[in-house]
């Protein structure tokens, strides 16, 4: 496949992630912060997100597995995950965390267990999507091409809301 085709495939794939709500405008901001002097910025932040999230999901699983669940601790972990997912633009993970926190407040063990499953699902989905996207980028760079940027205007056309709540 030649570079132009690969670039078009990447753009279409990335756009679909926005249209399906996996990513929001914050991800575009991350891409804008990447340049020749910091060519790996997005990869680095995304990798940090993966490491951070996996640790948090483990901590959450353990915390909810206790005979007496410490909901304050659970909420603290979810707050952290909400923060990091929001910072990278992982919208669906963030939204799952928001729901999770409201059930923590209620000390609802069944609902929070369901929320944990939901957050895990959303996390693994977005992880998969991001890895695919980054792989496509790598292939383009390896073939000597540059990574096409998605215009910020694209986000406005599919969603009139701003990036923040």
């Amino acid at each position: 496949m030649e570079v132009g085709q690969m670039q078009r495939r990447l753009v279409d794939y990335t756009k679909s992630l926005f249209m399906e709500g996996f990513l929001d405008a914050q991800f575009l901001q991350l891409q804008q912060l990447q340049d020749e002097s910091n060519p790996d910025f997005v990869v680095e932040v995304v990798s940090l997100f993966f490491d951070d999230s996996e640790k948090l999901l483990n901590d959450l699983t353990m915390a909810l597995d206790q005979p007496n669940v410490d909901f304050k601790k659970v909420d603290a972990h979810v707050h952290q995950l909400k923060g990091s997912s929001s910072s990278i633009g992982a919208q669906r993970v963030k939204n799952a965390c928001i729901a999770f926190r409201s059930f923590c407040e209620e000390h609802n063990i069944d609902a929070t267990l369901r929320c944990l499953q939901q957050v895990k699902q959303e996390y693994y989905l977005v992880k998969n999507k991001l890895e695919t996207m980054l792989r496509l980028e790598q292939q383009i760079v390896a073939a000597g091409g540059s990574i096409p940027m998605i215009e910020l205007g694209f986000w406005r056309t599919i969603n009139m809301k701003g990036g923040k709540e």
């Binding site: 912060l33 910025f41 923060g83 929001s86 923040k164």
Partner: protein, 182 residues
């Protein structure tokens, strides 16, 4: 082309405080993109350490007890040197141990550092929290995720501080600042 200003006195130095590694990386990149020199730490106590402010020095009551036993005097000149020319502090609100608000209070209580502008960031939009921070001396309150447009709001606060410093030890002048941007 977004060239950084030469790394000398003309560059503003921002101390960023956030317990989240991702957010630290993000704020660092945002600040560097805007040509700020950045030091990022993961807690309020590390921030105070960096400034050369012992945790106790900033506390009014304990200061008197510490003064005799403490060999490090709390003189403003020494503290400014230790602070390594920090021109602005930007801190997360929610941190374990010392919150960003606690840090703000300690900075404002310090005779050496009370004039350093402090900006607070938070992922939660709680008006009472925001108002309290602004009333107690924070220059700005940014909602996370922080954007480049937020960081652009920092420069006026820094320029204010810089013109106050012009008569003191800084060699820089405002004309030098303008021409080095070309």
């Amino acid at each position: 082309m977004g060239m950084a200003i030469d790394r000398d006195d003309t560059q503003f130095h921002v101390l960023a405080v956030d317990d989240s590694l991702i957010d630290r990386k993000l704020i660092e990149r945002l600040l560097k993109t805007s040509s700020f020199q950045v030091t990022a730490v993961d807690s309020g106590s590390k921030a105070l350490e960096f400034l050369g402010l012992n945790n106790n020095d900033a506390d009014d009551e304990e200061e008197y007890e510490q003064r005799d036993s403490n060999t490090e005097s709390v003189s403003s000149d020494e503290d400014q040197d230790l602070g390594l020319g920090v021109n602005l502090i930007i801190t997360d609100y929610c941190m374990p141990g010392m919150t960003g608000y606690d840090l703000l209070k300690k900075i404002k209580k310090s005779s050496s550092f009370k004039d350093i502008p402090v900006v607070i960031m938070s992922s939660e939009n709680i008006p009472s929290r925001i108002n309290r921070c602004l009333e107690d001396g924070a220059e700005e309150f940014f909602l996370k995720p922080v954007q480049l447009s937020d960081v652009n709001k920092l420069r006026p606060h820094l320029m204010k501080g810089r013109s106050k410093d012009i008569d003191s030890s800084h060699k820089t002048t405002s004309t030098r600042l303008i021409t080095s941007g070309n």
